[in-house]
Amino acid sequence: MSSKVTPASETTNPEEIYAKHQKVYPRQVTGIFANLRVLGVLVLLGLYYIVPWLRWDGHQAVLFDLPARKFYIFSLTFWPQDFIYLALLLIIAALALFFFTALAGRLWCGYACPQTVWTEVFLWFERQIEGDRNKQIKLDKAPFSARKFRIKATKHLVWLVFSAWTGLTFVGYFTPIASLWTALLNLSLGPWETFWIIFYGFATYGNAGWMREQVCIYMCPYARFQSAMFDKDTLIISYDDKRGEPRGSRKKSADSKALGLGDCVDCTLCVQVCPTGIDIRNGLQYQCIGCAACIDVCDDVMDKMGYPKGLVRYTTQHAMDGKQTHVIRPRMIVYAVLLVFITSALFYSMITRMPLRLDIIRDRNALYRETTEGMVENIYTLKIINMDGKPHTYHLEVDGLEGLKLINQRGDIEVPSGEVITVPVRVQIDPINLKHTGADINFHLQAVDKPELSLIEKGRFIGPVMQ
């Protein structure tokens, strides 16, 4: 093997890639990166299952209330009109992914991707119920028996219950979770909620229980294109073949120099722990999700043999070639500048966002009306949306033409937080003051208790022109 980063297609022939799928039994591993991974699982899944239960100001703290078309994120309420923030957020997420991939390779895959995280949990259940790797292989090889059935049934039952809980939590981000549970316990779940709980639950069960590494290999678009973001300074997990080869088993007491062996004792533990079932010693392969399990296990082996750690380690292509690694390089600067720029733009527009909207709809039935007093009257329906976290009372005025008169029977308008209030108003003018058949007039809306909360919206006034 050369020390070049070899794409999988050169090391594995196509028939192997597409050969019938063989189940991978990842061996359990301990070590610093395994601990980091467990920490990632606990933090991310902890957040996932707990966040929908947080309360804020009398509502669910994080709720993407699809039935009401409103998103609550703590004190903020977002409306379909705020779509731009979601778009910006997605762009930021994509850029951050590019940035971290160029910097540190597949960190996302190994530690944070939901696929990895849920698979870890499912593997943990499997180990609790079926035993370690060897026991699992033995059980699968064993002929069908009552014991085998009992163990397998228990495993799938546990997986399914956990998946159902996951699905329910998922739907709990979109409809209030407390009422979901109540409905579930009363057996009165709505049909669509039930459908999505089952859909997401089965996706979890299928992906984390059955598909596992195949999701990463066949389904993940990121896994396919991430190599485009890699360069020779990207952090990768690599086997040091200059040091390891020629590989071969030996006694701990043996003098490997005399035997002409490298440091790899060919214990194949790195292959056994790999969740995607590859051999890191064949070079960088696109199946590798960068979980670092092989680093942990090989470091243990090196310790036992009394060799220095790091035969398999985090490194860069440049470092492997004995060259300098550059963290700061043009593509990093470009990603970083874009990230900072778009993130600041998002924050700026969020801070200066006016949590108030006014939609003006002209009465469709009549262009205008003449009152008994000889005034020309237009009728409007105003929709006032209070997107602020607090209720406000708003004062409405109108100008733009001389002698405009606003007839608003409600007076000042109180709008609860996150609500829309519809107000019918009439605007009158003495036809003497009308110079054209149509003119723009301005509606001024201002919160009585918070004057900086104000806006001006244009409306159209139509009337006859007096000669």
């Binding site: 196509p14 028939e15 597409y18 019938k20 799928h21 699809l66 039935p67 078309r69 379909p80 779509f83 979601l86 409809t175 709505g190 049909p191 669509w192 909620e193 459908f195 999505w196 066949y218 389904m219 678009p221």
Partner: protein, 96 residues
């Protein structure tokens, strides 16, 4: 080129059709229902009052059906068309 494509497992062919279309229909659903309220659409279309969840769900599956059809057609048209029909079906590199 075409041989290797023929050679991928059936499950992978299903994934190649259903999965990308799932992703794009998800995006389409978000964009579409950000702009339009399913309840208003149903009213205008004369379907009466439906729950918004029903609207989103049905919308999502209509999008998925469309995008999956597109993916399936793309896969279909990638088959070589200059081979006699008898060999396109049974050809396998291992037999060759």
């Amino acid at each position: 080129m075409s041989e290797t494509r023929q050679d991928i497992p059936t499950i992978q062919k299903f994934i190649a059709v259903l999965w990308p279309s799932f992703l794009t229909s998800g995006v389409a659903t978000i964009l579409f229902f950000t702009a339009f309220d399913p309840q208003e659409l149903a009213m205008v279309g004369g379907y009466g009052i439906i729950s918004r969840m029903a609207g989103y769900t049905i919308g999502f599956f209509i999008f998925w059906l469309l995008t999956a059809t597109t993916c399936a057609l793309t896969c279909y048209f990638q088959r070589p068309c200059n081979q006699p029909p008898s060999t396109t079906h049974h050809h396998h590199p291992k037999d060759a």
